[in-house]
Symmetry: C2
């Protein structure tokens, strides 16, 4: 009988990290410090890449879901931190549109989403995207191929009602990527990489 | 206790349709006819949009997985046909890289993937992408916002070792989108749509 269901489960340590960071989650820096901590812990746990995300209510600031990259833990290439976090938030709130709420959600990520998660952000309905940074540092330091992005990626989100904010604790996010890149034991789960276009 | 797992399950009728089409799956047209049939049935079943995909071994032609859009059935905005099909194939084969096999997989879809599934295709490792068409018909007829794509989307895939083929039974795929667009009972699950950029 062929497998007919698939999915992922959030590691329990993610909840522990969120609980430990709870007091600081009202501030931009507190949220980004949690993201960097989750990304760092994800390397140590071997669940996937050094990537994390939060789904946060834009008004109250409530963290509805926190997620990490689970590609290695789940064996599924689509289980990036943004997809995991968006999916958990949708499962918890019972809606596929995270923007159609009295207090709509925004997505916080420890770097600009890859080509897949950029599209996943649009379909999720979140009304905002806040990232630690959006430069070439992630690919240069980690070796991941984030896929082809458009130069006007942010304007395209704004045009669809997704407010974009770039640059919260950027250096701390880069430091996590530096440690990842320097770790000989990590798995960079690129399938193919570009021969250069 | 907050929900900590998520996923999707393939409806049993998908297996029935694949079994019924089995004899013709050795030909390009037979595969695309199955995709159009799955997309049409998915509308009637109310599981999601009129979209379907196959993960096929490029050498033997074995269909490893068939999937449909399950956004409405799962309540998860990322459960597009490509993500469902790629995930089922990865779960069945026990690898996150569908190209790292003796007989690597290719993805067949009833139209050009959206912005999210374009990136999901890259991460999946498939070595080929075959689509019924890639023009504006899908968005024009169904009302779905497929997200911002790059003009060189196909070259970017080719540069990463993914062979792209466009145009198998294009008119039959368009006919499915026409019927979907004319159906007053369907749910077009765009979160936001572009104000035009």
């Amino acid at each position: 009988m062929a497998i007919r269901a698939f999915g992922a489960e959030l590691p329990t340590w993610v909840d522990d990290e969120v609980a430990a960071a709870r007091a600081g989650l009202g501030s931009d820096e507190g949220r980004m410090r949690l993201l960097n901590r989750l990304a760092e812990r994800n390397i140590a746990e071997g669940s996937g890449g050094p990537f994390s995300a939060l789904a946060v209510r834009s008004g109250s600031g409530e963290v509805v879901a926190a997620g990490v990259n689970l590609v290695l833990a789940s064996g599924l290439s689509s289980m990036h931190a943004e997809v995991v976090t968006i999916s958990l938030a949708q499962a918890r709130l019972g809606t596929w549109d995270l923007g159609a709420l009295d207090d709509p959600l925004e997505l916080w990520v420890n770097w600009r989403p890859c080509a897949m998660c950029y599209g996943a952000t649009l379909w999720s309905g979140v009304r905002g995207l806040v990232v630690a940074g959006d430069g070439p540092e992630l690919e240069a330091l980690t070796g991941f191929d984030e896929g082809p992005m458009r130069g006007d990626w942010a304007q395209q989100l704004e045009a669809r009602g997704v407010r974009v904010r770039v640059g919260v604790l950027t250096d701390e996010a880069v430091a996590v990527f530096e440690r990842y890149g320097a770790d000989p034991d990590v798995t960079v789960y690129n399938a193919r990489t570009s021969s250069g276009v």
